[in-house]
C-alpha cells in the first residue's frame, strides 16, 4: 500500500515536472521566435528567409500564428491583410513579376519577396545606414537611397541593384519622384535662389534637364511622364495652390488656388485631380476636380489626398480614411508625428463619387494602421502601403470578382 502511494506520488511529481518543462519550452520558444523573426528580416542570417511566420523551438506547432489572414473566419471571400516586412522600410516597388522589392531603413539593403506568401531574399547588400527614404527605379533594378548628415543636408545616391560601388550622387535634392516609366526621375534641388526642378534619365552619362525654377522651396510633386502636378506644401493655417507643369515646355496651368491644407494627386491620364482641403479649420475633405471643365465632385469623406492612390485606369481611387480624427490642426500635427490614425480602406468611383468600404484592419484584425505611400499592382486587387506609425510594409489583397461570384453562386 505504501509502495503504491509512493508510485502515485512519483507519477504526480513527474507529471508536474513535464508540465513545467513544456511551459518553460513554450516561453523560450516564443522569445526565440521573436528574436529570430527580427534578425531574419534584417538578413543577418544570409540567404533567403521566410518571414511569413513560423520558426522558434515550438513555434511551428504550439506558437500562435500572428498572420491576421488566418484569424478571419467567414464564408464570403475577405480582403487579406499581410505584413510584408516587420521592420522600418524606406521605400518599395511592386515589380511587374509577382514580387515586391523594398529597402530596409536601418541598413539600406534591398530585399525581394515573392507574393503573396513567398520567401524574402536579400538582393543588394550595399550597406547605407539610416536610409530615411528610398525609391526603386527600373522595375526594382535600380535604387535611390536618401540619407541626411548632421547639418540636415539630404544626399541621394543612385545605383543599380547589386552594383552599389558604381553610383551617382545628387546633393540637396529635397524631393525626388520616379516617373511612371521607371527609367527617369524628377527632382527638386534647393538653391540659394529657391529651387530648380529637373528631370534626369537614369541611363549612364545622361545629364539633368532643367524644366523650371521657383522662388519657393516647399513643393510636393505628383509626377507623370509628360507632366507633373506641383502643390505647395500644406498647412492647416495657410492657403496653398497647385498647378500642372508641362515637363517639355515648362508651361504652367493653375488648377487649384488658395485652398487651406491643400494636398492633391493627379489622375494617370492627367484629366482630373483628387484633392483634400480643410475649410475654415474643419476636417480635411476629399474632392475630385475635372481640370478642363472645373467641375468638382465633393466627396462625402474626411481624409487626405496623400493617403489615396488612383487606380491605373483612373476609374477608381483607393483611400485610407481615418476612422476618427483627434482634435488637432491638420495636416500639421500629423506631419509632425503628434498623431497617428487608425485607417480603413475605401474604394471611390471617380465619376459618381460613390464610396464603398473595403476593409478595416481595426474591425477585422484589431490592428491600427496609419497607411501612407499607397500603391496598387497592375490588377488593382492588391494595395501596398507603409504603416506610418512604425514604418513597416503591408499589403491588402482584395478578393477577385471571380471569387466573389463563385461564393455567391455556391451560396445560392
Amino acid at each position: 500500500m505504501k509502495r503504491r502511494r509512493l508510485y502515485i506520488g512519483i507519477s504526480i511529481l513527474i507529471t508536474l515536472l513535464i508540465a513545467a518543462l513544456v511551459g518553460w519550452a513554450l516561453f523560450v520558444g516564443n522569445q526565440q521566435q521573436e528574436l529570430q523573426k527580427d534578425t531574419a528580416d534584417l538578413g543577418y542570417f544570409g540567404g533567403s528567409t521566410d518571414s511569413s511566420g513560423g520558426g522558434g523551438l515550438f513555434g511551428g506547432i504550439f506558437g500562435g500564428d500572428n498572420d491576421p489572414e488566418n484569424t478571419t473566419v467567414s464564408t464570403e471571400p475577405q480582403p487579406i491583410l499581410r505584413q510584408l516586412y516587420n521592420l522600418p522600410t524606406a521605400g518599395f516597388i511592386k515589380k511587374r513579376s509577382n514580387a515586391i522589392r523594398f529597402v530596409d531603413r536601418a541598413t539600406g539593403h534591398v530585399f525581394e519577396r515573392d507574393l503573396p506568401e513567398g520567401a524574402t531574399t536579400r538582393v543588394d547588400q550595399t550597406t547605407v545606414p539610416q536610409v530615411y527614404e528610398a525609391y526603386l527605379t527600373e522595375d526594382g533594378d535600380g535604387v535611390i537611397r536618401r540619407y541626411i548628415d548632421s547639418e540636415d543636408n539630404i544626399t541621394s545616391v543612385y545605383s543599380r541593384v547589386g552594383e552599389g560601388d558604381k553610383n551617382r550622387t545628387l546633393s540637396n535634392a529635397n524631393t525626388i519622384r520616379v516617373m511612371p516609366s521607371g527609367s527617369s526621375i524628377l527632382y527638386i534641388e534647393e538653391t540659394g535662389a529657391g529651387s530648380v526642378l529637373s528631370t534626369l534619365s537614369l541611363e549612364e552619362g545622361s545629364a539633368p534637364k532643367k524644366v523650371t525654377s521657383s522662388n519657393l522651396r516647399g513643393w510636393e510633386v505628383d509626377a507623370k511622364d509628360a507632366f507633373a502636378l506641383l502643390t505647395q506644401k500644406p498647412s492647416g493655417t495657410l492657403p496653398g495652390s497647385s498647378y500642372v507643369l508641362d515637363l517639355t515646355t515648362g508651361a504652367k496651368k493653375l488648377i487649384l488656388q488658395q485652398a487651406t491644407g491643400l494636398m492633391a494627386k493627379i489622375s494617370p491620364d492627367g484629366t482630373r485631380v483628387l484633392y483634400s482641403d480643410t475649410q475654415e479649420g474643419s476636417l480635411p475633405k476629399l474632392s475630385i476636380r475635372n481640370i478642363e471643365t472645373n467641375a468638382t465632385i465633393r466627396l462625402d469623406a474626411s481624409g487626405f489626398a496623400e493617403k489615396c492612390v488612383w487606380s491605373l485606369a483612373g476609374a477608381k481611387i483607393y483611400c485610407a480614411l481615418p476612422n476618427s480624427f483627434p482634435q488637432v490642426l491638420y495636416p500639421d500635427a500629423w506631419y509632425q508625428g503628434d498623431v497617428h490614425f487608425s485607417d480603413s480602406l475605401w474604394e471611390i468611383d471617380t465619376l459618381t463619387g460613390e464610396m464603398r468600404q473595403l476593409f478595416s484592419p481595426k474591425e477585422s484584425e484589431g490592428i491600427s494602421i496609419d497607411m501612407v505611400s499607397l500603391s496598387t499592382d497592375l490588377t488593382g486587387r492588391v494595395i501596398f502601403f507603409i504603416n506610418k506609425t512604425d514604418q513597416t510594409l503591408w499589403s491588402i489583397t482584395l478578393p477577385s470578382e471571380e471569387e466573389v461570384s463563385d461564393t455567391a453562386e455556391n451560396e445560392s
Partner: protein, 343 residues
C-alpha cells in the same frame, strides 16, 4: 413686346443721345451719367462678378433697368441695380452694358469691357523644418518671406503672355514696394511683419498694353516657433514620424538619444550655431552632444522603470522673438533592462 420696344429705344437713345449728352449738356439737360462698378474690380477667370450701377442725377431704385452681357439681355426690371455673372476664361472678352430709364423719362446707358486674367500669389517663410517634412514652413518674427506670382494672361489672339513681359507691382498693406516691383518681377524675397504682427502682401499684375489687370493677396501672419522632440534610434536614425509627447515611454535599452527640432526658426539646420539650446533633466541643467547641441543622450542607471521631465529651450541668437521651449514628462521602461531575455 413692350420690353423689346424699350430695349431698342434704349439702344437708339444710347447710341445717339448719350454722346450728345457728354458734349452738349446744355441741349439735353435731363440726361445724366451712369457708372458701372465691378466687384471684384479685376475679376479672375470663372469668378462670380457683381456689376452695380450708380448715378448722381437721380435715384436709380425706381428706374427701369436692362442689363446686357455680350449684347444679350440678361436681366431687366425696375430697380435691378445690380447684376451678377461669371467671368469668362482667361483672355476672353466680355462686354457688360446697362440701359436705364428713370421715372422722369431720362434714359442713361453705359458699357464696360473686361478681359479676365489670373494671378495667384504663393508664399512661404524662409524658416527651418526637418528634412523630409511634408508641411509648409511658417513665418516667425524676424525671418524672411519668399513669394511668387503665377500669372495666366492671354491676349485676344489666344496667345499666352510671356511672364517676363508682365508688370508686377508688389505692396504691403497697400504701400507699394518700389524697389522690388517692375517688369518680370514675378518673385520676391522680403522681410516679414515685425513684432508678432501681420500684413497683407499683394501683387498686381498688368499686361504690357494695360488691357488686363489681375490681383492676388495673402495675409502674412506671425507664428511662434515650435519645438518637437524625437527619439534617435541608433539603427534607423531620428524617428521624425513619431514625436515624443508627454507620457511617451522609451523602452529596450539603458541609453536613449533624443533630437530637438526647432520648427519655423530662421536657420538652415537644427545644429546651427545661430541657435542656443538649453537642456534640463528633472530641473538639472545638462548639455547636448558637442557638435550636435540639438541632441541629448540619456544614460540610465539602475533597473527600475522611472519617469523623467526633459525640458528643452531653444533661442535664436539674432532674432530675439524666435524662441521656444517644451517640457516632456517621459517614462523609461525598466523591464527591458532587467529582463532575462532583454538582449
Amino acid at each position: 413686346m413692350h420690353m423689346r420696344l424699350f430695349f431698342f429705344t434704349g439702344i437708339f437713345l444710347g447710341l445717339f443721345f448719350v454722346p450728345l449728352a457728354w458734349t452738349s449738356a446744355q441741349v439735353l439737360p435731363t440726361l445724366g451719367s451712369v457708372e458701372i462698378n465691378l466687384t471684384p474690380e479685376h475679376p479672375q477667370p470663372g469668378q462670380l462678378v457683381q456689376a452695380t450701377i450708380s448715378s448722381a442725377s437721380e435715384s436709380v431704385r425706381a428706374a427701369s433697368i436692362v442689363w446686357l452681357l455680350n449684347d444679350r439681355v440678361e436681366l431687366e426690371g425696375p430697380g435691378e441695380v445690380s447684376f451678377s455673372f461669371r467671368a469668362g476664361k482667361a483672355g476672353s472678352t466680355q462686354t457688360v452694358g446697362v440701359l436705364m430709364r428713370t421715372t422722369s423719362g431720362q434714359v442713361l446707358a453705359n458699357t464696360l469691357t473686361l478681359q479676365p486674367a489670373q494671378v495667384t500669389l504663393l508664399w512661404e517663410a524662409d524658416t527651418y523644418t526637418p528634412p523630409f517634412y511634408q508641411g509648409r514652413s511658417l513665418y516667425s518674427s524676424g525671418s524672411l518671406i519668399r513669394a511668387e506670382a503665377i500669372a495666366e494672361f492671354i491676349d485676344s489672339s489666344g496667345n499666352t503672355y510671356d511672364p517676363s513681359k508682365l508688370i508686377y507691382t508688389w505692396s504691403k498693406n497697400g504701400t507699394v514696394i518700389g524697389g522690388i516691383s517692375g517688369v518680370a518681377a514675378s518673385s520676391i524675397v522680403t522681410e516679414g511683419p515685425k513684432f508678432l504682427g501681420n500684413y497683407i502682401l499683394a501683387v498686381e499684375v498688368q499686361a504690357p498694353d494695360g488691357t488686363q489687370v489681375a490681383l492676388s493677396a495673402a495675409r502674412i501672419q506671425t507664428t511662434e516657433p515650435i519645438i518637437k522632440l524625437y527619439e534617435r534610434d541608433p539603427l534607423i536614425g531620428v524617428m521624425y514620424h513619431t514625436a515624443v509627447s508627454t507620457d511617451h515611454i522609451f523602452s529596450g535599452s539603458s541609453q536613449f538619444e533624443v533630437h530637438a527640432s526647432p520648427f519655423f526658426m530662421a536657420t538652415q539646420h537644427a545644429n546651427a550655431s545661430s541657435l542656443n539650446y538649453t537642456w534640463q533633466v528633472n530641473g538639472t541643467r545638462v548639455f547636448g552632444d558637442g557638435d550636435t547641441p540639438a541632441e541629448l543622450t540619456l544614460q540610465l542607471s539602475g533597473q527600475d522603470s522611472l519617469r523623467t521631465r526633459i525640458r528643452v529651450a531653444v533661442a535664436h541668437v539674432q532674432h530675439l522673438l524666435q524662441a521656444g521651449e517644451e517640457t516632456f514628462a517621459v517614462g523609461f521602461e525598466g523591464s527591458a533592462r532587467e529582463s532575462l531575455f532583454g538582449f
